[in-house]
Structures are given as C-alpha cells and as structure tokens.
C-alpha cells in the first residue's frame, strides 16, 4: 500500500495510483529506468541476505532465536524442494529459495506504508513465471532429452485421440506461466486495492463531520482485518508460487 492515499477530487478513490511507477534518484533514475519497483526489489533482497548473514553469523551448535529463524527458513524451503522435486531437489533448492523469498519479501514489504509492492506488477510476476517456465523446459531437455515431448501424449492413449489431446496438453502446458503470474499479480493487486479503497472510505467519511468521524472507524477496523489477511495471503502466494515451481521442476526431472 502506498502512502499517497490519494483521494481525487474528494468523491472518488484512486485505487490504482499506488501501482504507478515513478523514477527514483532523479535524472539518473530516469535515465536508467530505475523506478521504486527495482528499489524495493533491492531492499527486499538485502533484507533476506542480511537476515541470513546476521542470523548465521554465530554459527552456533545451539542456535539463538535469529539463527533458528534462518535455519527454519532454510529447512522449510529445502524440505519443500527435496520432497516435491525428488532426489534432484537439492540442485534446484537455491532457485526455489530465491523465488520463495523474493516473492515473500516483496509481498510483506508492500504492506508497509509508503512502500511499493513489486509483486503487484504483472510484468514482474510474468517475468518470474517465464523464468520458471524456461528453466523447467531446460531442465526437461537436460534430464530427459527430447523425450520430454512425449508428455504431451499421455501414455496409453489411443493414437486417433492424439490430434485432440496433444493441443490440449500443449495449451495447458503453455498456460502455466500465465496462470502462475496472474494468480500472484491478481492476489496482490486485489489486496492492495481493497486496502486503498477502505482507507479512502475512511477519509471520505471523515469529511462528513462528527457523524462521519464515528462511522470512519468501520473501514479502519476492516483495514486492520484486511492487513492480517494480507499477511496470510502474502506468505500463501509465495508458497503457492514456490510449490508450483517445484511441481513443474519435478515433471521436468522425472523420467
């Protein structure tokens, strides 16, 4: 959510203004096409790396709180990758870890006032999804050779069904990056639009005088509940993205 809870012309709520990109660092940012979106990517990445660095610095046999947190996040994604992908899971573990924490940090960072949610941009989520898609195709070729193409005709299908089934399988395969990216994008946009809309209601009600001041408590209460929901959605969507990545990679490495 953005701090620019802009209430345009008093009567309408600009729920989408928060997603606008503005160059940061003045002319340099403009020249480098550097908006607040990559800035928050950098912040998110830095937070995760600092968390891991500071957490693991004691390298104690009996971990403290921060180290335990770092180890739990490692173990959580490691178990997810290895149990879903299989024995080759360890190869893709850093990738899945990067995906999960890039999205999670982006989702959570976006919940802070005056921040920007880069996962609410379809270009970003689609870029991530295409990356997963391309990597899973490369892994398929690496692990199964051209033979992975036979997945488009499930084993035991009558040959005369092939003209029907192969396009269906192909479409479902190609729609993966679309569904993967739109799921995350839509969830984040929906959450932030809702927060903005109810925040806007509060301001509009506050403009109605004493009676409005009392009524304005309702949207604030809703926004508190929505923030809690967004905390859940943020981790859930990151998890969904990571586990779907793992599932696609498992299909890629399975024989």
């Amino acid at each position: 959510m953005t701090g620019e809870a802009s209430v345009a012309a008093g009567s309408t709520i600009d729920a989408l203004g928060q997603f606008e990109l503005h160059p940061v660092l003045g002319h340099l940012g403009e020249a480098l096409r550097f908006s607040q979106s990559p800035l928050f990517m950098l912040i998110a990445v830095a937070i995760v790396l600092v968390f891991l660095y500071v957490g693991m610095r004691p390298a104690a046999v009996v971990p403290g709180r921060l180290q335990a947190a770092a180890e739990i996040s490692y173990d959580f994604v490691h178990d997810l990758a290895v149990s879903t992908i299989g024995e080759n899971g360890a190869t893709f573990f850093p990738f899945v870890f990067a995906i999960f924490f890039f999205i999670l940090a982006g989702n959570y960072l976006g919940l802070l006032p005056f921040s920007f949610t880069y996962t609410s941009h379809i270009a970003v989520t689609f870029g991530l999804a295409i990356m997963v898609f391309v990597i899973s195709i490369l892994a398929s070729i690496r692990f199964q050779g051209v033979g992975f193409l036979k997945h488009f005709l499930p084993a035991g299908t009558p040959v005369w069904l092939a003209p029907l089934l192969v396009p269906i399988e192909l479409i479902s395969f190609l729609s993966r990056p679309v569904s993967l990216s739109i799921r995350l994008f839509a969830n984040m946009v929906a959450g932030h639009v809702l927060l903005e809309v109810f925040a806007g209601f509060t301001i509009m009600l506050a403009g109605l005088g004493a009676f409005g001041h009392v009524l304005a408590i309702a949207p604030i209460a809703i926004n508190i509940a929505l923030t809690a929901l967004e905390l859940l959605v943020g981790v859930l969507q990151a998890y969904v993205f990571a586990i779907l990545t793992c599932i696609y990679l498992r299909e890629a490495v399975a024989h």
Binding site: A8, T12, I13, D14, A15, L16, G17, F19, E20, L21, H22, P23, L32, R33, F34, S35, S37, P38, M41, L42, V45, V48, L49, L52, Y53, M56, A59, V61, A70, E71, Y74, D75, P94, F95, F97, A98, F102, Y118, S120, H121, I122, A123, V124, G127, L128, M131, R183, A186, N187, V189, A190, G191, V193, L194, V197, F198, L229, V233, L236, V240
Partner: protein
C-alpha cells in the same frame, strides 16, 4: 485450486468505486511506460544477483552450520555408543571372570573333596589290611599255640600217666605207657 475467496471480495468494492479508477486503466498494463519494462530488466538483474549470492554464499553457509551440527551430534552419539559397548564388554568380561572363578573354586573344592575321600578310603583300606593281617597273625599264633598245646598234650598225658603208673604200681615202662596213651588219645 489455490483460489482464495478474496478474489470475489475484491470484485465488490471495485464495482462500488465509481468509474474513473478502473477506466483510467491499470498502471501495470501501461506497456508504453519505459519504467515498466525497466523494472523487468532490473528485476532480472537483481534476482540473478540474489540467486547467485544465495547459491554461492548464503545457503552453503547455512548448510555448513547444519551439517556441522549433524556430524557433531553423530560423533557424540558414536562416542556414547562406543563407551556403552566398552562398558558392556567390560561388564561381560567381569561376569565371565566371576563365572570362571566360581567354576575354578568349585573344581578346586571338588578336587580337595575327592582327594580327601580318596585318602580316607586309602587310609581305611590300609587299616583294614593291617587289621586283617593282624587277625591273620593272631589266628596263626592261636593255631600254633593250640597245636603246640595239642602236641604237648600227649607228652603231658604220657608223663602224667607215667607218674600215675609209677605211683600206682611203682614201675614204669615208658614205652608201653606212651603207646597206651597214644592209643587212648588217638
């Protein structure tokens, strides 16, 4: 399958918000904005850097700590297991030593007992033999004495008879008396 009811919730207020916001279009779909494409390129660079620093430095560091802990726990367990095995072996040794000692002691006692029994038997046998030989000696002596007595009997009888005859008839014919006595006593 991962759909949340939130998506439906989303629709309601959007419909409630009068036109402008939606009509203005989503900034995310404004693909003419150079910043929009810029963030994808920057995102790729940042994500690549993130991936590399994770896979090269951050995650192996965590893995090292975790595997250190695993090996340490494993080695501690191994030490404990070894100590237990040693203790078990020592206790088994002690048991077997005790068993052996008991066995030896029993064997010793048995040997001493059997020796004592044997020596007692031998002693008894010796005594019995000695007694038997003494009995035999005594019997021989008795027989001898009796024979002696018996042999001297005829002599005594003869001399007594000669004395008696001499007293009675005043004469003595040794030969006759002796043969008579012999005849009578025979």
């Amino acid at each position: 399958m991962y759909r949340t009811p939130r998506l439906f919730l989303f629709a309601a207020p959007l419909a409630a918000v009068p036109g402008r916001a939606v009509a203005a279009g989503m900034p995310q779909l404004n693909f003419h904005d150079p910043l929009l494409i810029g963030q994808v390129v920057w995102g790729a660079v940042i994500f690549g850097g993130f991936y590399l620093s994770l896979s090269r430095f951050a995650l192996p560091r965590v893995e090292r700590v975790l595997s250190n802990r695993r090996t340490r726990i494993q080695s501690d367990l191994d030490v404990a297991r070894k100590a237990k095995a040693e203790a078990d072996r020592a206790s088994a040794e002690l048991l077997s030593a005790r068993h052996e000692a008991a066995e030896q002691a029993r064997a010793h006692v048995e040997r001493i007992q059997s020796e004592a029994r044997a020596s007692a038997d031998a002693h008894a046998a010796e005594t019995a033999k000695r007694l038997e030989s003494e009995i035999a000696n005594a019997e021989t002596r008795i027989t001898q004495s009796r024979e002696e007595a018996l042999s001297s009997l005829s002599e005594i009888a003869t001399s007594t008879t000669q004395d008696l005859v001499a007293r009675l008839i005043g004469t003595q014919d040794e030969q006759t008396v002796a043969s008579a006595v012999k005849r009578v006593s025979a």
